[in-house]
Symmetry: C2
Subunit: 579 residues, 2 copies
């Protein structure tokens, strides 16, 4: 490819409205173009990157016996009504009515489609296990798009679905897929991606993992243990804290004029937040009924865990009905009105001498003892894990909090979809059974952006050889001088003949422009032909990552030594990544 | 791939509701599964076929300097409002409102997106010409889906857009693309596809060609000249007929009680339809105003040509307003009410002695002379071409009518999109100009179905080697007898090691089931291992198209002679198709 013919422009300036490095560089380098919020077109360099990522994903999916299929983007609502998700998923799913009045959705995931495709054909235990996958466009109407391709509405995704006759078989396959995912991330150049336990969310099922690239721009919060390697998404992480044992004191109602927050209370009573029970008020989405969560005053409620405990969606109660009997600013566990659901976090276990609201304006209780005053209270895990908290695996207080971008996920779905959609097979005894499913996703564009985020400098992306849009860039400096043009043309032709992917800058622009464009387009290797190198009978060969720079001789129009050096470097880098 | 693990079922019975051979075989062979009307999922064999077609298309697009990009499926309405097509395209375009209240469309073509992607970057004549393409999902809300993948609502399409600084440059590129299309169709195994002149329809522009596979199941009507090779879609074909010269007679009003149709009139007056002027009444879609088209009585109106002549959409007038002054059953060109637009087809040129309606119930005129009685009438081409009609190129009366499936199209778009969307560049003189566009489409799934339609027998598709899901099938008959299983396993392993794409039927089913499944899955080559062949120390090697059948020897577990014969046959067939 010649740069003079390459579609797209490169920019020196930081584009407006871009914060993360990958977004800035993908715009500056002419990789992507926004069409609408969270909707992008790809210029040729980005399409080359994503095609290479797709090829690596295909190889690894085929290697674990995946069979490639294709599901539609548009699906009838009836298919999603079978699983119940037509109603349970909110406005992130696009719904539309077609010209015949039929309701349809845009696919945001394809569990339903995978069951529809296979339920008529996989009717005997002998058909199991199997895994099918596709690489296809998806649409989720995200309210907040950000970070270029990191969080978008339309995206290309590899989604895979496996079907099994036993939980053990699913777990074996799940492990194989987890290993395939680690190979994929290593091959595209981000071996540092970690698998973390996650909440299954709308997918259903129990065990699930997210693959996280740890980076400050990530919008997921990850809990890690530096001692034992425990890793979990904040949404799913257990919160374990201990409480000092202190002698009980009598329960006392205290006048607390003007005290509305935990901070006010601590200041008023000369205590720390650990000695308070904080109330957070929610409402169920279905009927607006109230749910009050109590956590130790220094902790926050993990709404995902609260939802999972309640088994329904809730939202923070922003306006509390004055007739509800709930007294904002002074809510406590004793004397709450009827009909309010109360949930206690286990951080309150064994606490005595707690301060809490008295459900009466201007009053709080002191000396609350959980065991004495609330003997029947069930204590559950609904608090957010904290830095320095106790690791649920090794028990050491070494938890650390980090940010991460989710580049893939795997779920054990169980029989949620096969049961609701009546997919069955006959087992060896001739009995009807529901197959057990797993599902496995990777966002292609987000992965490309994440690799850029992980590997770049101020001048552009440092693409790993496996997914670089071109393997080598040829810069012809001062092409009008001497035989630079002739030599560079010959070098380009010989590299192409050897099957090397070359981006040849054949323009008559300054060396500065040429190098800054080459940096942005990110070929891992670079060859410079200039009047100076020609006079020495050499080509300058260097790496975008600055790991080497050397001269290689050529003879007349014979660049075979250069071609061989380039091929050897490419092969070495490919081998290092592909393992 | 082992058949025991392959997802999908094969059927002996013709499935209900399928008429065309490709639809029947794609269902019977486990290639596709309907999800909704015109929406299909692909099983692994079909995905393998379409991936191979996509690879061939990519190679040929790259060969004519195409650069692969990716446009979104979902686009903002505002983009389509820029070109005016948000309003001009009807209900075949899906429109929906997103969670933020913004209007969006599902992409059915990407002219607007291609201009949006390039207008900021291709600002100098030096950036031209260029061509960009994508292979992506599209959705058109077709009212009538049929023929399996032949006419669907959701489909994968390769769409390409080229940009030029002169009409000459566009025409040169258009010719290159036309040749690339012929190579694509030849390589996928349908060299018989013909390019026909077509109407540009909603795409705009003037010159366009459709690539047609001539087959009875086609829904397009093609006009062909057997003498000179002229080919056009009926929508675009010129209609040329001659009229015998006969002496004029006086115009006479005749009472014609009960005469309502051309047939009635011919019977009443003892004439042929050639001696009548037939009136067909339309209404403009915009304001329901009446348009009356007159054609010679033996011909039909070509509505596409009528629309193009009028420059607006029209529909047949099913209920004529009694107050309009139009007299159904007796409509003629003389004495029509004011405000009615009249269009005369040139088939009426020079006619005298015509019978026509008198615009009075129960009366017709005889002896109408176009030149004498309608001296100012403009005669235009609005009739459908007919079998035996005159070829507009060579002038011989050898036109033939055929049916065809459109597997691709190419359009010269001119500046319709660049003007409406304000895409300009500076020419060599520094003057602002609008680039000239071409666009080029191929439907991937429809092409796969068309190849099957063109090449099949009663037992299954006869896939060409270039796009067959697998190159060779291995059938192990009576695998439990003797060393059949061991030999077939060894053969399978050695073929795979040699890079051959093998489908290995490793099941314990009857020879009949095995062969009928092999026929449906359509590998062009077949190897049979059975107790009989093993006892002779041979493998039976044959072609799905019955072109040969021979025994090839093996020694112990060494199948190298078989592998070599298979590789040679694959190479020969690939070379024959790839040219």
């Amino acid at each position: 490819m010649k740069v003079s013919q390459l579609l797209g422009m490169r920019f020196k300036e930081k584009p407006a409205g871009c914060e993360s490095a990958n977004h800035i560089l993908m715009i500056r380098g002419g990789y992507i173009k926004q069409v609408a919020s969270g909707i992008f077109s790809f210029y040729p360099p980005m399409r080359r990157v994503t095609r290479k990522i797709e090829a690596i994903i295909r190889e690894e999916m085929d290697r674990i016996d995946g069979q490639e299929v294709l599901f539609p983007v548009v699906m009838p609502a009836s298919l999603w009504q079978e699983s119940g998700r037509y109603d349970s998923i909110g406005s992130e799913m696009v719904r539309f009515t077609d010209r015949n009045g039929a309701k349809n959705v845009l696919g945001m995931t394809h569990e339903e489609a995978s069951v529809q495709l296979t339920r008529d054909t996989a009717t005997s235990y002998q058909n199991y296990p199997f895994m099918i996958y596709q690489i296809q466009t998806k649409f989720r109407d995200e309210p907040r798009c950000r970070g270029g391709l990191i969080r978008v509405r339309e995206f290309t995704m590899k989604d895979a679905y496996s079907f099994h006759t036993s939980q053990e078989d699913l777990e074996r396959y799940y492990q194989r897929c987890l290993e395939a995912y680690h190979r994929i991330f290593a091959r595209v150049g981000v071996p540092e991606v970690v698998a973390v336990q996650s909440d299954s969310g709308m997918m259903g099922g129990s065990v699930s993992h997210e693959f996280m690239l740890l980076t400050d721009i990530g919008e997921d919060t990850i809990v890690l243990c530096d001692s034992c390697g425990y890793r979990a998404n904040m949404e799913a992480a257990e919160c374990i804290v201990t409480n000092e044992s202190v002698p009980e004191q009598p329960l006392t109602k205290v006048a607390t004029p003007g005290v509305k927050t935990i901070e006010d209370l601590c200041q008023f009573a000369h205590i720390t937040a650990l000695q308070t029970a904080k109330a957070v008020v929610y409402q169920r989405n279905c009927d607006d009924s109230y749910v009050i969560a109590f956590v130790r005053g220094d902790l926050e409620v993990n709404e995902t865990k609260l939802r999972n405990h309640l088994g329904c969606e809730v939202h923070p109660a922003l306006d509390i009905d004055p007739e509800s009997g709930i007294c904002p600013g002074s809510i406590g566990p004793l004397g709450l009105p009827e009909g309010v659901t109360v949930v206690f976090d286990r951080s309150l276990k064994g606490c005595s001498m707690l301060y809490c609201g008295a459900n009466e304006d201007g009053y709080h209780y002191g000396g609350l003892s959980m065991e004495r005053d609330l003997p029947g209270a069930e204590l559950v895990d609904i608090a957010k894990a904290v830095s320095g908290g106790i690791c649920p695996v090794c028990g050491k207080p070494h938890l650390r909090i980090s940010r991460g971008v989710e580049v893939g996920n795997i779920f054990q779905l169980g029989t949620k979809y096969t049961k609701s959609m009546e997919m069955t097979y006959l087992d060896e005894k001739g009995e009807r059974q529901y197959p057990i499913m797993g599902c496995y996703g990777i966002g292609v564009g987000r992965l490309a952006a994440s690799v850029c985020e992980a590997h770049h400098d101020d001048y552009g992306p440092l693409w790993p050889m496996t997914i670089a849009p071109w393997q080598v860039g040829v810069c012809a400096l001062h092409r009008n001088k001497g035989d630079v043009q002739a030599k560079a043309d010959a070098l380009y032709a010989q590299l192409q003949a050897a099957g090397v992917e070359v981006l040849y800058d054949d323009r008559t622009v300054s060396a500065g422009s040429m190098f800054s464009d080459a940096d942005l387009l990110g070929a891992p290797l670079r060859l410079v032909v200039s009047p100076k190198t020609c006079s020495k009978g050499v080509v300058e060969f260097s790496a975008r990552d600055k790991s080497f720079r050397k001269d290689i001789s050529f003879t007349g129009d014979d660049f075979s030594a250069v071609v061989e050096a380039v091929k050897a470097e490419i092969a070495a880098r490919m081998a290092a990544l592909n393992g």
